[in-house]
Symmetry: C2
Subunit: 407 residues, 2 copies
């Protein structure tokens, strides 16, 4: 199974569109619609922030009541519809109703997602225009839709895969947006994934949960967790292939894992102001959960992120961040290596060994740190828990973007 | 009781010095010594990071074994002596021994503190020179000592107070250093406080713990917690005043609280690249611990810090940060106000009301946000828990400082 990166193959029975409804002042695309010609089984994973945006609350309710007859997902950028109270819920419902009317389906069959500024009400005339234009522009081409869900992203994030199994072949395609506010337990990231395979609801939910845990939940851009995080997975069965039984489900999971991991990594690569892509391989922690938390704490540390930006092999900050992760950790049993590149087949240059600086040349470490991608391997020497976290540096550009985001 | 800010009155029986031993390349002061002419009762509060620097481990051991006959505190900047294993412990012990030899006291009577780069060994020739020069330069003047413990601080942090009680008057004086890596549960901050009052060990420890909780543990610069955080309090009794009994102890606590709060706020004001001083009054949270955690999460959020820097009244980011603090929180019961200045006697302009944007003019909020100091009041509407956290913005300058700190 090979990924088709940066574009998405057509998925049987699905059509998409991305248009300018008027939420963004500069005329950029700001409204996306994904429509299935028949009912979909659908699953969702949502932010764990206690402040949940109206579209998150509405989708959770619809997926609880109506998970087997979803027909469309409408997404706007430019406004998060978060911290908007009862008015926000009304606007989220109204968006779904407008889509339902345009497509001749029921409002309960429509999911909605929003991203953008928190605390502003959805400009409903722009939403109306977005629904009108997008429902008239549906096609097989995901490019405009992926562009329409972007906020400070610099490029669309698209991927698809063809999967072969005993019953035939089917397609999975997905898009995502990220940029800032990307953190453990998801982030302001939205993703919609569609497949023309048929799956049982329980299998679909399980597959999405497992895929999310090893992808979107293992990236850190800035440590903030958003009010709007949503990942949706829709299966319409139009390929004629039913995915059931251990072997088929394993193949589906493998494809979905790979696809979501690619989208997650693309979000980090395109993080606000990012100049370095950093892989943190945390190995031999007491538990997998400890390994995740250590990696996430290192990834969210302003001091380590600043050092990545400055190409400074300041490994003491990495070890210090591990020490405050709230997990079991003992510097005297820990060792750290750094290598150039995104992969981690070789541990690379050892820079910390059992509580002490390793014997290495600063120039060798500095040479690795100037690369656009690097991998740190932290061996905690405590147990069998391992996890890989993908993160990035923090640059002057991040501050500029987030200092004037609303202006 | 009035604070004498930015300088420190002489404390009977204590002498101090700050010199250039050679740890800093630019000739700046880098070694400080505080000496009492007689035994002190001493208490300490230390970092909760699992990665504790050698001086922290040594001081914890000495205060456990020998808390009533401390005579000196030696502090170096330029090198943290953290992540340095057994060599680091040997160097910390050797530093104390050099001081003991120079002063004619026992090594067990000397506490040590270090701050600077993590993962480098202490340059012992520079330490030797620092001990030699400082022990020959002891005086009543705290200015050079306060300068010698600085790292990226731009100014020394000094304070003292005269306290009157039934038995007479006594002095408390203290110095601190901070700058970056300042976070909940202390930070890379060092502070030494000396008093010529006499106190029982248990009273002294209790007073320092309580003072630290409402001062150094309520500031956030960048969310990182250091390997070296230390606050020491020494009491030598040379004023002839014994502080005992509820009334005397309350007066001592009040003075110590005020003094530590001033030093803590000075650390935030002088944080790396700081342009805004932000007070977060969290009121009516479920518990005091929840209020602290909500304030600390808001204070550590890169998105809110960037908005402070950009003078953007992006209150949605504040509410969103509260929602991911891991505490009880309900946006629909919450309200938020912002006011100019450091005090919070007036709630100010309401910008969020029970889950919805309040009815206010953006221009009014923007006018407040351009001030060098501002106070947010977040009413959680859940209980009686309140806490005030002091924090700051994040600027381009922070990234520059921490991108090339070691070069």
């Amino acid at each position: 199974m090979m990924l088709n990166k940066s574009s998405a193959d057509a998925v049987a029975g699905f059509q998409v569109a991305g248009v300018h409804g008027g939420l963004k002042k500069d005329g950029a695309l700001d409204f996306a619609l994904l429509v299935s010609e028949c009912d979909c089984v659908a699953a969702g994973v949502f932010t764990r922030n206690k402040v949940k945006a109206a579209p998150v609350l509405l989708d959770q309710q619809r997926l609880a009541e109506n998970p087997a007859s979803i027909r469309a997902v409408a997404t706007n950028s430019g406004c998060a519809n978060a911290c908007t109270g009862a008015v926000g819920m009304d606007n989220a419902r109204a968006t779904a109703s407008l889509v339902a009317d345009a497509l001749g389906i029921a409002a309960e069959q429509v999911l909605v997602m929003s991203t953008g500024v928190i605390g502003a009400h959805l400009p409903m005339p722009a939403i109306e225009r977005g629904v009108e234009l997008s429902s008239a522009a549906l096609s097989d081409d995901w490019a405009a839709a992926a562009a329409a869900i972007m906020t400070t992203d610099t490029r669309p994030k698209l991927v698809s895969a063809q999967v072969e199994c005993a019953g035939g072949s089917y397609t999975i395609a997905g898009m995502a947006k990220g940029a800032g506010m990307i953190a453990p337990d998801m982030a302001t990231m939205l993703s919609v994934i569609a497949t023309d395979a048929a799956l049982e609801l329980g299998d679909l939910q399980h597959a999405l949960g497992a895929a999310t845990q090893q992808s979107f939940n293992r990236i850190v851009v800035d440590g903030d967790t958003s009010t709007n995080d949503t990942v949706l997975l829709l299966a319409n069965g139009r390929s004629g292939v039913t995915v059931a039984g251990a072997e088929d489900l394993a193949a589906f999971q493998a494809a979905l894992d790979k696809l979501t991991r690619y989208l997650a990594q693309e979000i980090v690569r395109d993080g606000e102001g990012v100049t370095k892509f950093v892989t943190l391989d945390i190995v031999n922690a007491a538990t997998v959960a400890d390994a995740e938390r250590i990696g996430q704490t290192i990834g969210a540390s302003l001091l380590t992120k600043s050092a990545f930006y400055g190409s400074d092999a300041n490994w003491g900050r990495i070890v210090a961040a591990a020490g405050r992760a709230g997990t079991a950790f003992d510097p005297n049993r820990s060792s750290l290596w750094v290598a150039a590149g995104e992969s981690s087949s070789q541990p690379g240059l050892q820079i910390f060994a059992g509580g002490m600086p390793a014997d290495y040349q600063e120039a060798d470490a500095a040479a690795i740190m100037t690369e656009p991608a690097m991998t740190f391997r932290l061996d905690c020497g405590l147990g069998q828990g391992s996890a890989t976290i993908w993160t990035c540096d923090i640059s002057h550009e991040y501050i500029s973007i987030n200092g004037d985001y609303r202006s």
